[in-house]
Structures are given as structure tokens and as C-alpha cells.
């Protein structure tokens, strides 16, 4: 076979766009695509003069590379791990938002008369939250145990701590909550400011609890059936939780319309901001989990 032909001195000096723009255009591509073809594209842009039109053509093709990644660049385990980490974080935030909703509405017995939709929405949310947590827990348990065993076997104490954070962080939060209520609470419960502190601390605890397994996934890089099961279960749990998010939207909208005593009622922006957060976290959870599930169910 003849040796590959080359530009044989036909290169032109780099154009005004230079390496900075070509690097910026390549930054738009998925990491796996960039790792495989990035240097070659930069060499081509350099050899061909790297005009603005050439760089723009590279930037323009980045979008299809995200939507239809070439099969040979598709790292399924990496996709599942990344999706699981993202979905776990957004699922925790969504659960936190849901628990705030329960505390401010359902536990306060806010049921506008003549509108059973709100009561149904409470019931739907309770069922979906429990079912989603159950599916996520059962589906993720084998992977969690597998990683924990490996962290112990390979003497990786930091990874073991990361994996135990979903237990440690909520336990520490609940202990702090009990102490706070005892010290700062009165007959009517804690004040508004203490409630805000408790809520923010709850979100911080949820974020820490979710970040732990995400970090362990990145560091231990597990593969195999346990990872596929967790990714598939994540998809189911996210789908169930999406129904719960719809129930929150229905209940909050109903309360805003029919109950003047609903939290933040005279400030219309509070329910709107809350709903925007719910919709955003539910969307991120569903999209991430769906990508992980697709990778789990794809042909090897």
C-alpha cells in the first residue's frame, strides 16, 4: 500500500481567526468527539488557512454531534455514570422542593372547599414520592453495595465516606433539626426565619447526600449489570417523580387560585418562582435519567 499522501508543503499560514477561535469552536463538541477528532480538525484548519467560514462550519456541526453521537464514540458506562450522578442530584432537589410543598400545604391542611383536585394532587404526590424513592433505592442498592465493597477492599476511605454520605448527611440534618426545634421552637413551632434556615440546611444536606455517590461514581468508574440496573431504575424513578412534579404544579396552581391563605399568597411571585424551580429540576431529572436509561438498554 502506498504511503498516505500529505499536503506536501501546500499549507497556508493560519488565518486571522487563529487557534483561539478554532479551540472555541471545538469546545462546542461533546468531550468524546473532541478527544477523538479535535487535534485533527485543528490541524486541518491550520493547513487550510483556518478562515472564519471554516471555523464557522466546525461550530455549526457541533449540534448534530450532540444529538447523534457517532456509535464508536459512545462510552455507555460513562454515559450511565454521568446521567446517574446528575439525575441523583436533581432528584434530591426535586424531593426537597416536594417536602417543602408538603410542609407548607398538606401538613397545614390547606384544602379549598369545593375543589377536590388539590386533595387528589396531595395523594398523587405522596404516592409518587414514596414509589420513586423505593425504586431508586432498590435499583441503586446493588451498585452502592458493590462500590462500597470495592472501596473497602482497595482501602479507599475517601470513596467509602462519599458513599456513606446519603446516610450521614440526612442523619446529621435530622439530629440538627430536632435540636433546633427544641431550642428555638415554641408552641406554634419555629419562627419564619428559623423555618427558612431549616429549609436551606435541608437543601444543603440533600445536595451533600446526592453529591457523595456522584463523586464515588466518577472516581471508582463501576461498570456491568449493577450499573445498568441502577441507570434503568433511575429512569423509572425519574418518570414517577415527574408525575409527582405535575401533582405539585396542579396543587400549587389550585391553591393560588382558590385559597387566599396559601403561603406567599399576597406575593404572586413566590408560587411562580417555586413552580419554575419544580419544572426545571423535574426536566433535568427526567432528561438525565432518560439518557442513562437509553444507554443501559442499548445493545452492547
Amino acid at each position: 500500500m502506498r504511503p498516505p499522501s500529505g499536503p506536501s508543503g501546500a499549507t497556508t499560514p493560519p488565518g486571522p481567526s487563529g487557534p483561539l477561535l478554532s479551540r472555541a469552536a471545538l469546545a462546542l463538541y461533546p468531550p468524546s468527539w473532541r478527544a477523538r477528532y479535535g487535534e485533527e480538525v485543528r490541524a486541518l484548519l491550520h493547513d487550510s488557512g483556518g478562515g472564519l467560514a471554516a471555523v464557522a462550519s466546525v461550530a455549526w456541526r457541533a449540534l448534530p454531534a450532540w444529538f447523534w453521537p457517532p456509535r464508536h464514540l459512545h462510552d455507555r458506562p460513562a454515559r450511565m455514570r454521568a446521567s446517574l450522578a446528575t439525575a441523583l442530584m436533581s432528584w434530591s432537589m426535586l424531593t426537597g422542593l416536594g417536602l417543602v410543598f408538603v410542609q407548607l400545604t398538606q401538613f397545614q391542611d390547606l384544602n379549598p372547599p369545593g375543589h377536590p383536585e388539590v386533595r387528589w394532587a396531595y395523594a398523587v404526590f405522596d404516592v409518587t414520592l414514596a414509589a420513586s424513592a423505593l425504586v431508586a433505592g432498590l435499583g441503586g442498592l446493588p451498585l452502592w453495595l458493590l462500590m462500597l465493597r470495592r472501596a473497602r477492599r482497595e482501602q479507599r476511605p475517601r470513596d467509602a465516606v462519599y458513599l456513606l454520605l446519603p446516610v450521614i448527611a440526612p442523619a446529621a440534618y435530622l439530629a440538627a433539626l430536632i435540636v433546633t426545634i427544641r431550642l428555638a421552637g415554641g408552641a406554634q413551632g419555629v419562627s419564619q426565619w428559623w423555618f427558612l434556615v431549616v429549609v436551606l440546611a435541608g437543601f444543603a444536606a440533600a445536595a451533600i447526600a446526592a453529591a457523595g455517590p456522584g463523586l464515588a461514581l466518577r472516581r471508582l468508574q463501576p461498570r456491568g449489570p449493577a450499573l445498568r440496573l441502577a441507570a434503568a431504575a433511575g429512569g423509572v424513578a425519574a418518570a414517577i417523580m415527574a408525575v409527582g412534579a405535575v401533582a405539585i404544579v396542579v396543587a400549587v396552581t389550585g391553591l393560588s387560585l382558590w385559597s387566599r391563605h396559601f403561603a406567599g399568597y399576597h406575593f404572586g411571585t413566590i408560587p411562580v418562582l417555586y413552580l419554575a424551580l419544580v419544572v426545571t429540576t423535574a426536566t433535568v431529572t427526567t432528561v438525565s435519567a432518560a439518557r442513562g436509561t437509553r444507554a443501559a438498554l442499548a445493545e452492547p
Binding site: 498516505p4 486541518l44 493547513d47 471555523v55
Partner: protein, 108 residues
């Protein structure tokens, strides 16, 4: 209105036809396609095509000492190119024959 008959110049086909001669790297492919087939492939289009053809096993990368990695056509790629060339050749022959019969066209 653009003449959409230029769709015959399908970039994957042009790249396969270029590599059918010998292995080439990206810049050499664009030069060859421009000089022999009269089509300018942009850098973005070329590497989108290379990624697709590689994923389908129609071309494969060769070892390279620098960042200009050459590609060569695989057996599957050669077969795909041959099949498509046959189809195009059949259509081209038919078109010439009918133009000649109905319009007295003697060829360009």
C-alpha cells in the same frame, strides 16, 4: 433558486471516492475532492462525514506520528462505494441515452 441536483455530490461518497485512491488525511482529502471532483468540503462537513464513515466501519484510521491522522477505505467501504457507483453509472447511462434520443444531445 438553488440547483438541488448537486445533491449527487454526497459528501460521504466523495470522501470514499477520494480514499479509494490511497489513504489520506483531512487536508489531503479536501484538496483531492476539490481538484478532482470540483467540490469544496468544509472542515466541519469533512469531520462529520469522517466520524460517520468510521462509525459504520467504511473507513478506518491509520497510525500517525503527528496530528494529521490518515484514513483508509475498508473492504466494507469499498463494497459500498462500488454499489453506489454502479447505481450512479446506471442512472448516468440512462440519462445520456434518453437525452441523446429525445433531444439529440451529443454529450458535453
Amino acid at each position: 433558486m438553488t440547483d438541488r441536483l448537486d445533491r449527487w455530490a454526497d459528501p460521504p461518497l466523495l470522501v470514499l471516492a477520494s480514499l479509494a485512491e490511497e489513504p489520506k488525511h483531512g487536508y489531503a482529502i479536501t484538496q483531492d475532492v476539490a481538484q478532482t471532483m470540483g467540490v469544496r468540503l468544509s472542515a466541519g462537513t469533512l469531520y462529520a462525514v469522517i466520524a460517520r464513515l468510521e462509525a459504520r466501519g467504511l473507513i478506518e484510521p491509520l497510525e500517525s506520528e503527528d496530528r494529521r491522522r490518515p484514513y483508509r477505505i475498508t473492504m466494507a467501504g469499498a463494497e459500498a462505494l462500488a454499489r453506489q457507483s454502479e447505481r450512479m453509472s446506471t442512472v448516468a447511462s440512462l440519462a445520456r441515452e434518453r437525452l441523446s434520443t429525445s433531444l439529440g444531445w451529443a454529450g458535453a
